[in-house]
Amino acid sequence: MHEETVYEALANAQDDGHWAFGTGFDEPLAGVDTTVPDGVDPTDLGAYCLMLGDDALVLAQRLTQWMTNAPELEEEVAIGNVALDLLGQARLLLARAGSVGVLGRSRELATDSVPDEDALAYFRAPGEFRNTALVAAENGDFARTMVRLLAAATVRLAVLARLRDSRDPVLAAIAAKGVKEVAYHRDHAARWVLRLGDGTGESHRRAQDGVDAVWPLLADLSTATDVETRLAAAGVAVDPADVLDEVRGVLTQVLDQATLRVPEWPPAAAPRGRVGEHGPELAELLGTLQGLARQHPAATW
């Protein structure tokens, strides 16, 4: 390797091809057919994209809280991977919501230079977010973080696997890519739940505490919103009730093998997160996520 040329090449090169992420802002859905399928209300479609996109964005933010604090360097890399995958899914889904005109009140604050995905991520109020309580909850310790990731990834994988056949071509494409990613997330979390559940006395206690803290949050996933019901009937979305058996089966299998007690499944309840009802932990998370962008609404980054 010739040392002068390496540095000079990167100091002088103007060719964008060498940049890891490109130098301009690429429209994330560029080249994809974004026509809304016949008989589907674009407002419903956009609202559904926000549900899946906000789940990904909020969980990515929670996982990112572990960066520089993780138990091992290998885990910094792994958690970074999972968060990056979820951020990528969030960007596509929020861009899709924006492309069908679902921007909520974000455009009242965001200037035109802010792309849709950022208008939605940075300029909506907590009550406009559509994520479930499962992803918004605090991380807790590493055991609870991994139990939550296991539960969230199991649900998401079951949903994305079905969405590969969605009548919306954009959702189908996002799901096809996402299935591979989320299968890894679920596997990574399951391996940790096994190690912690069947590791030492302390790790078993912490893993069980994590399970007991996470399980009640699953109530927020049991009942479809009206939007999900309508879109499921139209072959576009997945009714969350349809994946519950699969989710319970996977989680029970992992917990059994991890020598952890499986709590009773929480009784079905009316959706909360999906209709914008959140606890203070989401407002706090969004305060950090949105603060800088909101201080400079006319800035480009």
């Binding site: 390797m1 940049w19 890891a20 990112t64 138990p71 055991a143 190690r195 790790s203 950090t288």
Partner: protein, 318 residues
């Protein structure tokens, strides 16, 4: 410590030493199972460990902006970068392990202050422009330091550095690209960039270490092919590259004495405040305590996780 009488090499060791010297003279690589003088091994472990520590501690200044990055694209770019640094730390600890060191032991030495890391990471990141300036100047200086190490005489270190340098070059471009975008933005954004340059320029010059006449270990490291250029040579190369980049960006480097020396074809800086360097590297920088406290917490608060993984592996023969 062994008694002085034992230090004279045994006859077969003389032959090994000759072979080692010949390998170095021919500019070939020393590999983990080759014989090497203890001083060479010790020096390399210190240097590689210090480099690994720098990657890991270096995740923190920028990591502080991960949760608040102002766009989802910037958040992805920064997360990928911080993740790369964890990866660099892993390669480098692995390279140190090929010399007989142990990662956990090196981490303990970092936390106990027995081994150092680059003093640049003891400065705080006050605005998002710092993320860009760290990419441009700090990673730029790191590349200047590290590209010659791709030819280091120790094989595993040299090979690790090739990969590290490729990734660092992406980081530098990303940093510079963020700054270019901010300079095209609002007046507040331009002011942020200039402020960050004002704070990071001098510390980045100190990243090359003390001047040659005050660098005690340089001569031996150069003789061993562990180091390829002196601190001052590398610093000069960095200054010569950075000045035109600053001009292209439209920022002023905070050095009234910075002048172009026509005769030598080099940019000349004013005097560097080496007292500040000594203060920061000896632990009195603005963020030293915070950086080490976070490493200590990551180790101690999560020790039960590592214990559980070990216990599980023993039970299941994994």
């Amino acid at each position: 410590m062994s008694a002085p009488t034992l230090e004279r090499p045994a006859p077969d060791e003389t032959a090994l030493q000759r072979q080692f010297d010949a390998t170095i003279a021919a500019d070939h690589r020393i590999e983990p199972r080759d014989w090497m003088p203890e001083g060479y091994r010790r020096t390399l472990i210190r240097q590689v460990a210090q480099h690994a520590h720098s990657e890991i501690v270096g995740m923190q200044p920028e990591g502080d902006w991960l949760l608040a990055a102002p766009s989802l694209r910037r958040k992805s770019v920064l997360l990928a970068k911080v993740q790369d640094e964890a990866g660099h730390g892993l390669y480098l600890y692995s390279a140190a392990e090929t010399l007989g060191a142990d990662r956990a032991d090196l981490t303990d030495k970092l936390i106990e202050g027995k081994q150092k890391y680059s003093s640049i990471f003891n400065y705080p990141t006050l605005t998002y422009a710092d993320v860009g300036v760290i990419g441009w100047l700090v990673d730029g200086a790191a590349i200047c330091n590290q590209v010659p190490l791709c030819r280091s005489s120790y094989g595993p270190y040299a090979r690790a550095m090739i990969r590290v340098c490729k990734e660092e070059s992406f980081h530098q471009r990303q940093g510079y690209e963020l700054l270019m975008t901010m300079m095209r933005g609002t007046p507040e954004q331009r002011a942020m960039v200039q402020d960050a340059v004002d704070r990071w320029w001098w510390p980045s010059l100190m990243m090359f270490g003390p001047p040659d006449d005050a660098s005690p270990n340089s001569a031996q490291s150069m003789a061993w092919g562990i180091k390829r250029h002196t601190n001052d040579e590398l610093r000069q190369r960095y200054v010569d590259m950075s000045v035109p980049q600053a001009q292209a960006l439209g920022v002023t480097l905070p050095d009234p004495d910075l002048t172009w020396d026509e005769a030598s074809g080099h940019w000349r800086t004013g005097p560097i405040d080496w007292d500040e360097f000594t203060r920061v590297i000896s632990g009195s920088g603005p963020m030293n305590a915070v950086r080490i406290a976070r490493r200590r917490a990551a180790r101690d608060d999560n020790a039960w996780v590592t214990e559980a993984a070990t216990a599980y592996a023993e039970k299941h023969g994994a």
